[in-house]
Amino acid sequence: MSSIVSVTGLRKTYAGGFQALKGVDLEIAEGEVLALLGPNGAGKTTLISTICGISTITEGAITVGGHDVVRDFRAARNMIGLVPQELHVEGFESVFSTVRFTRGLFGKRRDDALIEQILRDLALWDKRDERIMALSGGMKRRVMIAKALAHEPRILFLDEPTAGVDVELRQSMWEVMRGLKARGVTIILTTHYIEEAEAMADRVGVINKGELLLVEETGTLMRQMGKKTLTVELGAPLEALPPALARDGIVLGPDGASLIYSYDTAARQTGITDLLADIRGAGLQMVDLHTTQSSLEDIFVGLVKGGRR
């Protein structure tokens, strides 16, 4: 795996003395979509800010495309587009001119055809001459994405791109991200929405309290960390769990009408066969069986509660 972004031993202490990042190591592969998940205040924005040059690095090193982001900031930043978490726009400017401004800022030759394409992709072309302050919140966010794309970056940082936007807009943002990914753009997004990470990300990184708890392929993470639940509906309700069935992970369901057994899909022995045999041995009648896979959300909550794996 060749990394396009490489973060080593990154620590960040803010001026007030608060340590927001406590030694983060992260390798991001070219062309992948990486979702950073973590509760509020975990340090997601801080991590992005140090990579992009908004925040200073207290300790450690970051390279982008092999360029140190401090010593060789020009080469590093040329590759990066950033859409920050907060809506920051120049209200008096027109959509088109603000996007063109960003392209210029990144040292690129004026290319109005390219900007037209970007605005069309983001459904902003009709609004190109409007003042930004006259736009809705969702449109303003798309203007910020258009700005970030104006210099054709190879890496795009999206800090909570779909926070507080409606379902339709979220879908269209996902479309935009898929289009960029198809063109080989590396995307790092932070999100609160698990389904967004599941839908978009090749890999998921989980941050909590300034520590990167894990980075894992989305599918593997689901499989490795995923707990499954087996629910056995009983023919007649039980008063209490028969001693013969007692084992780790089993509880009696509501009204005693079912048995709920949680097991680890990654374990060599799930214990299902034994359990089913014991149920039959205890003379209980099974009416129905079903299993459910825990979502990334459950995994995430488990991780954050449990600390480092």
């Binding site: 590093a76 800022l105 040292g107």
Partner: protein, 253 residues
């Protein structure tokens, strides 16, 4: 050098100026005209000439300087304060631009606007008094140097300021008194000796003196001293700006 970035910043700032071109120009022209009416007419009728120059003409360089200083400080201050205020500064901080490029863009635009207003005031003044300019090239040179160095000061103020009040307060509390006490409306030689000495610590004295020399060939301090003063001042501002970006003071968290 990221010339495209300088160009982008400069054009962005100038288009902001031209959006509000009438406010930008009407107010300085109006206040200059008022100064002529009050100082030129009321006081001028008593003083008549200063060192052989009619009082009305004598105050022209000082009036221009007053406005140019205020404008360059205010424009550059607002230019960099505003992105900080609305948050769009993130773009500048994450762009592949050096301090020098940012400064040239913002300070260049602010100085251009101040320069334009200075020239418009000069043009306005010809409606009131006869002006002959002894050293037109030096006149322009002083104007340009002043605009740029004070735009740098304004740029620093804009980075320092945390509120609009702070942004407006310093020019009012610092620049205006320095200009008024810097010999805009009188010759330093008209002051009592003690005040003449104290005045020499006011940097604006050197600006106005040099500028006035370019008009009438007479100066309160040697022209070389004026040039040296501007250069030192500009150098200090540049150094301060470099240090600010280097440390990220009030810009990077």
């Amino acid at each position: 050098m990221n010339l495209a970035a300088i160009r982008a910043i400069y054009i962005f700032e100038m288009s902001r100026t031209f959006r509000t071109i009438w406010q930008s120009l009407v107010s300085p022209v109006l206040s200059t005209s008022l100064y002529f009416v009050v100082f030129g007419t009321a006081i001028g009728s008593r003083i008549e000439t200063v060192e052989g120059v009619s009082y009305g003409a004598f105050i022209v360089p000082g009036l221009i300087m007053l406005t140019v200083l205020q404008q360059s400080v205010a424009n550059a201050g607002f230019g960099i304060y505003f992105p900080k205020f609305v948050g769009t500064i993130y773009e500048l901080l994450s762009a592949p631009v050096t301090v020098l490029e940012i400064v040239i863009g913002y300070v260049g635009a602010a100085a251009t606007k101040a320069l334009m207003i200075g020239l418009i005031i000069l043009a306005t003044s010809t409606f009131f008094v006869d002006i002959r300019i002894a050293h037109p090239v030096w006149m322009l040179a002083f104007l340009v140097m002043t605009s740029f160095s004070f735009a740098m000061l304004g740029f620093i103020l804009g980075i320092w300021a945390k509120t609009f009040e702070q942004l407006n307060l310093v020019p009012m509390l610092l620049i205006t008194p320095l200009v008024f006490l810097g010999g805009s409306f009188y010759s330093i030689s008209m002051l009592p000796p003690v005040w003449q000495t104290i005045t020499m610590f006011n940097p604006v004295v050197y600006l106005i003196s040099g500028f006035r020399w370019s008009f009438f060939g007479l100066a309160d301090v040697p022209v070389a001293a004026s040039l040296a003063a501007i250069s030192v001042f500009a150098g200090l501002c540049l150094l301060a700006i470099w240090a600010i970006f280097r440390t990220g003071w009030r810009l990077r968290t």
